[in-house]
């Protein structure tokens, strides 16, 4: 266990909530470090598996994917803040049951007849990350900086914030993944200049162009694709394997979820192998005669994923164009995300920008490290410099006007916080409400943009049509999340607004989920309670051991035996789960050692005083 002192109110950590893996990091004395348990891997698979009325998260859940494919949820990030009709590709690819909500706009995951929002599944992952961090740090964690792809829109960011809320975490800030990565690199090198962060993860691709001056990290443009990543490469390999099996054996494995899971994992393993080796081979034993054989070379893989990589380069060029820069203006290129381990990706980047990309930091960890730096900054901890992140809104935000046209109010790549105001009026006498439909996107018509929600203004004073002057303010905060306020100017009256998110949860729904998970909350509390009790017990044990080891301490053999027995009991309780018993035992032990300490120290002082020649020793 670490000896990092606990800041008041617990530690503030950075969390990379990934499509494939999640992990936490914290700022230490020597810079940021990832958090994991002694025996563990810092990467916690973003997988939740349900069984026997309970659930497991992480590696255990990932292992269940093969045995229990219909109850094992992975890649949930792809469903966050999205609508049922938008995810037909995912529905085909994911083996668990995905259903539309009653309003048909939300996506739900159905396991054994129970329905979960993606926010709830993500909250389970966040909770696991948090518990891992708490065990590693030995202190409670209540606040975090959570990262999202830069190209996430308002609904997806809002969904992430809601997931944190459901997990009982206060999200101090939602930070864009490439920006966090730049932070992790920037602190090491004290860079000044223009950098490009190329972030190709499991499910998403982002590119951000940043200018760094005097500790200010200013994003000037961002671009990306929230549906492009290593998963897609796995899918392509998978399809090739399935075709090969069908060809060689006539068996269609596409209808066997268990086999599909196995092959998905094999495809991923082959992809990884081909980053170092030139070819990879596998056998698929169907138990019906000769096994099917499949072989893939690196060149073949590169040809398969070439269109995807071309798409990422097109995004890079678009971001540079938005920033008004050319490739030659870029000082550094930084690689983030596991998929940048693919040699072809690095080669393409070198070709595109004429310089070797930075790969010094582990591409799977760099985002969490950067998030920890930002978390430290926001917590106002000692050693926090005067670092400042200025990020942008990735997609233009606007409203629907006459004939379904999209009127942009806040342009993409505007620095956040950003705001726009717009005047509205009424079209009917005594109309007291106005409905505003908000969209995000770059196209001319709202039907080609993403609907964020409907904002219903109520309580306007009754006036003839066209007379009310309603000033509506659209404010995007530093997390990239929109709030809308309205005021009728003639009366000065604040209009109240009902928000109906198109692909998200209303405030009441989030509250409801939190209320329903009160049992979980109690378990949470108990878990943290246990962490604290274990910590306290361990400190006591260590302190007592230290004292026992001091040769000058005049313990009697009986006292020693008793203390050793108490320590053993305490350690046994600390390995268990009963926080109350552990706390009680630790408290007893504390009193006892205190009394003993008084006695022993008293004896030591007496002995010292009685030593012949000691000052103040009684004359013999």
């Amino acid at each position: 266990m670490s000896a990092t002192p606990a800041p008041a109110g617990g530690a503030v950590i950075g969390i990379d909530l990934g499509t494939t893996n999640s992990l936490a990091a914290v700022m230490g004395k020597d810079g940021p470090r990832v958090l994991f348990e002694a025996d563990g891997d810092p990467l916690i698979p973003s997988v939740v598996s349900f069984q026997d009325g309970g659930h497991v998260v992480g590696r255990k859940a990932r292992a269940m994917a093969i045995l229990n494919p219909r109850r094992t949820v992975y890649s949930i990030k792809r469903l966050m803040g999205r609508g049922y009709e938008e995810i037909s590709a995912e529905r085909e690819m994911l083996p668990y049951r995905i259903v539309p909500s009653d309003q048909a706009k939300l996506v739900l995951v159905e396991i054994d007849g129970r329905r979960y929002t993606p926010q709830e599944i993500s909250a389970l992952i966040l909770r696991q990350v948090r518990e891992t961090a708490e065990r590693a740090l030995g202190v409670p964690v209540e606040k975090a900086v959570i990262t999202v792809p830069a190209y996430f829109d308002d609904s997806q960011r809002q969904a992430t914030r809601d997931a944190a809320k459901i997990a009982g975490l206060q999200a101090l800030r939602i930070v864009n993944e490439p920006t966090a990565a730049a932070l992790a690199y920037g602190l090491d090198t004290r860079n000044e200049g223009t950098i490009v962060v190329y972030d190709l993860g499991g499910g998403t691709f982002d590119v951000s162009v940043l200018k760094i001056t005097q500790g200010v990290f200013k994003v000037v443009a961002t671009n990306g694709d929230t549906h492009l990543g290593g998963d897609d490469f796995d899918q392509k390999i998978m399809a090739r394997i399935l075709d090969t099996v069908a060809q060689q054996t006539g068996t269609n494995l596409r209808v066997h979820p268990q086999a599909l899971q196995q092959i998905r994992l094999s495809a991923e393993a082959m992809k990884i192998e081909l980053s170092s080796g030139e070819s990879s081979a596998m056998e698929i034993d169907l138990g019906t005669g000769a096994p099917a054989r499949f072989r893939l070379t690196r060149a073949e893989l590169e040809a398969m994923i070439r269109p995807d990589l071309e798409r990422t380069l097109a995004c890079c060029r678009a971001a540079l164009a938005d920033a008004g820069l050319r490739a030659a203006d870029v000082n550094e290129v930084v690689c983030v995300g596991g998929s940048t381990r693919i040699p072809r990706v690095r080669a393409l980047l070198e070709q595109e920008f004429g310089r070797k990309p930075h790969t010094e930091l582990d591409p799977d960890r760099v985002v969490a490290l950067g998030a920890a730096i930002q978390a430290n900054q926001l917590a106002g901890n000692d050693g926090a410099g005067d670092l400042l992140l200025l990020d942008v809104i990735p997609l233009s935000l606007g409203i629907e006007t006459m004939g379904g046209a999209f009127a942009k109010l806040i342009m993409r790549n505007s620095t956040v916080p950003a705001q726009a105001t717009e005047m509205f009026s009424t079209s009917v006498d005594n109309q007291t409400g106005i409905e505003i439909n908000v969209f995000q996107g770059e196209r001319e018509l709202v039907r080609d943009c993403r609907e964020l929600g409907r904002f219903k203004l109520r309580g306007l004073p009754a006036m003839p049509a066209g007379l009310p002057r309603v000033e509506v303010t659209f404010l995007v905060d530093a997390d990239g999340v929109l709030t809308v306020t309205a005021r009728e100017q003639r009366s000065g009256q604040q209009a109240s607004i009902d928000v109906v998110p198109s692909h998200g949860l209303t405030r009441d729904q989030v509250k409801g989920i939190i209320r329903d998970s009160i049992v979980n909350a109690r378990q949470d509390f108990a878990a943290r309670d246990l962490v604290e009790a274990r910590n306290k017990a361990q400190n006591l044990v260590q302190g007592t051991r230290r004292v026992l080891a001091m040769p000058e301490m005049p313990f009697t053999p009986g006292q020693r035996r008793e203390l050793e027995a108490d320590i053993a009991r305490l350690e046994q309780l600390a390995r268990g789960e009963d926080a109350a018993a552990l706390k009680a035992a630790a408290e007893d032990f504390g009193h006892k050692t205190q009394a003993l300490a008084d006695e022993v120290i008293g004896a030591a002082i007496k002995a010292e005083l009685n030593r012949p020649g000691a000052p103040g020793a009684p004359a013999s």
Binding site: L172, R173, L378, L390, T415, V416, P417, A418, D477, A478
Partner: protein
């Protein structure tokens, strides 16, 4: 060019001239802005058609450090809301002032709020030229003629540069001809739309 320039009120906390309508640069106090503040006053810069880039950058960074919500996380709700609003105003002011075209449009608006609306009928020879270029772009896009698109885009860029030069020419601001400036800005908008179409098709 004569601009309305109400003096910035003294800082409510330390009584000194705050140097910005958004925050006091002496004591750091965030200020609730009075109506009518200009983007120039937000950044504490003299209003005018020429902008001192270095001074703009420096003022923006300094104010960002005062205003950004990240530095007010521990404050009460009202103070956090003010930091958020003022940050958004600062970012808007900076975006407008750092872009030559947006700055010109903003200045024209300060000088004569109705100018753009009043002078939106463009000269017929300009409209003719724009329509021809636009049709040529459409035609080249239909035929997938990339070299033609590139040629057309380059031509439009030259037209834009030429007008940006005229806009930047300080003499046009000495005694501003609102009609000429409004016309220039409208023409620039038309050219930018054609350029966007040409680039999208390429």
């Amino acid at each position: 060019m004569v601009l309305p320039s109400a003096p910035i009120p003294a800082c409510p906390a330390c009584g000194r001239p705050p140097g910005s309508t958004l925050a006091c640069l002496h004591c750091g106090r965030l200020i609730e802005e009075a109506p009518g503040a200009t983007h120039f006053q937000r950044l504490g810069l003299p209003a005018g058609e020429r902008i001192d880039r270095a001074a703009l950058e420096a003022a923006y960074l300094k104010l960002s450090r005062r205003l950004h919500p990240d530095f007010h996380g521990g404050a009460d709700e009202d103070a956090r809301a003010l930091a958020l609003r003022n940050s958004a105003l600062l970012n808007e002011a900076y975006a407008v002032l750092s872009d030559d075209e947006q700055r010109a449009e903003y200045l024209l608006g300060l000088h004569d709020p109705q100018a753009l609306e009043r002078w939106k009928n463009l000269p017929p020879d300009f409209l003719m030229q724009a329509m021809e270029t636009s049709e040529a772009v459409e035609g080249a896009a239909r035929n997938g003629d990339r070299p033609a698109l590139a040629r057309l885009a380059a031509g439009v860029r030259r037209d834009i540069d030429e007008r940006m030069q005229r806009l930047a020419d300080a003499r046009s601001w000495q005694r501003p001809d609102a009609r000429a400036l409004a016309t220039l800005l409208h023409e620039l908008r038309v050219f930018r739309r054609i350029l966007r179409d040409a680039e999208k098709a390429a």
